[in-house]
Subunit: 212 residues, 2 copies
DNA sequence: TAGATTGTTAATCGATTAACAATC
DNA sequence: TAGATTGTTAATCGATTAACAATC
């Protein structure tokens, strides 16, 4: 964001496609490819080439006229745009199966997210380590958050518990919540809530299945 | 779909919002409410009332002029539209943490999906029951699928295994795949693949966090 | 009646798509 | 040169939003 005011904002649709590009670029980079055209990327992602060209242009990905986009530079542009070039330390609340699945997903480190603590209320989970991450009792939330100065929460608790935990998180000064519970959370305007609703995907699947 | 040809198709955006409405309607129905206006629903979901009105009109939800939409009838309209009024039997491949999380999610029964089998290659998982669902060895895929006449697969295997399993599934005559692996699957045109990409949500969160 | 609401049509907005110039 | 590609502008399309009539 320069001194000349904000540039035209990038659409959510574009933002949500970026990780796809990043995965392909990462592979290509591994093979030693230096340039890639939008038609090449289109083949891999099965998106229209023009969409890809526009998306990459929107985030200012470097290119060579006539030859395509620079693989390494474009990776860096995406990572920089998403802030994935430095790690955000985050923590997880609700160390059930879903929580454990997320803790076990090593890919987050490449996505700017490092889970450094987990919380749960089940006595048999508290004190455990899942994938090297200590599980604390939820009662210790405030203390650990403040000590480690954490600002991002991943919420994988059962629906009925979500709003209560959220209120605590907000009181602790959390700035972002990635919510996997199927519940609309009430938060102050300055807290970012990213809702992950698995039912939406299922609905889409079912609708497409009916139509086909 | 009447004999006069297909009605104007409902947008994916609308489809993905339907489960939200269904949840609120379900609550209201539990309280005995019979009618609900789009402004009421807007308050609960924090979507613009006009969006809700349009969405519900698009699927032909019943209403009473001036009084709002009929709670029970609208629930039925959504469930019917999504095919959630009768259960689709499905199975899961990959009984790790994420798979176990999905098997443990009882909510699917209200969403038209019943997981009746799971598959994995880890010897210590095979033969187990997770939430009452038997885990078979992946080698038994074909036999079990045919015996139970299953058409819908939920894929929760590691990325590198996804395409291989998919080829097997396609050969078994599967019609739909709900894919949680961050991999674009290659399938014939008549197989529906619903891609669930967790990185998209994270990208959106990170972009919003940077902007705020 | 007044007011809140659905029903319906029109206007707006922005994402996608197309077109074509520039260029190596 | 010819061809493939980015760069850039314009056209299209469809979702969202607004407006207002009908009505109980």
């Amino acid at each position: 964001m320069g001194i000349f005011g904000k540039r035209k904002s990038v659409s959510v649709q574009t933002i949500r496609r970026l990780p796809q590009y990043l995965r392909v670029l990462c592979d290509l980079h591994g093979y030693g490819r230096e340039l890639v055209s939008s038609t090449d990327l289109a083949e891999e992602t099965r998106l229209p080439p023009i969409v890809i060209k526009k998306d990459l242009q929107a985030i200012g990905a470097p290119s060579k006229l006539r030859s395509g986009f620079k693989v390494k530079g474009t990776m860096e542009a995406i990572e920089n745009f998403l802030g994935w070039d430095n790690l955000n330390r985050a923590f997880l609340v609700g160390a059930g199966h879903l929580g454990a699945a997320l803790l076990g997903f090593s890919g987050f480190k490449n996505h700017g997210l490092e889970l450094v603590a987990a919380f749960d209320t089940h006595p048999e989970r508290v004190g455990e380590e899942i994938n090297g991450v200590r599980v604390w009792h939820t009662a210790q939330l405030k203390g650990v958050i403040e000590e480690k100065n954490l600002k991002i929460a991943v919420l994988t608790v059962p629906g009925p518990a979500a709003q209560g935990i959220t209120d605590t998180l907000v009181a602790c000064g959390i700035k972002a919540i990635w919510n996997f519970a199927p519940v609309k959370l009430s938060v102050p305007a300055d807290v970012v809530v990213q809702q992950e609703d698995i039912a939406s995907g299922l609905a889409e699947l079912c609708a497409r299945l009916k139509k086909s």
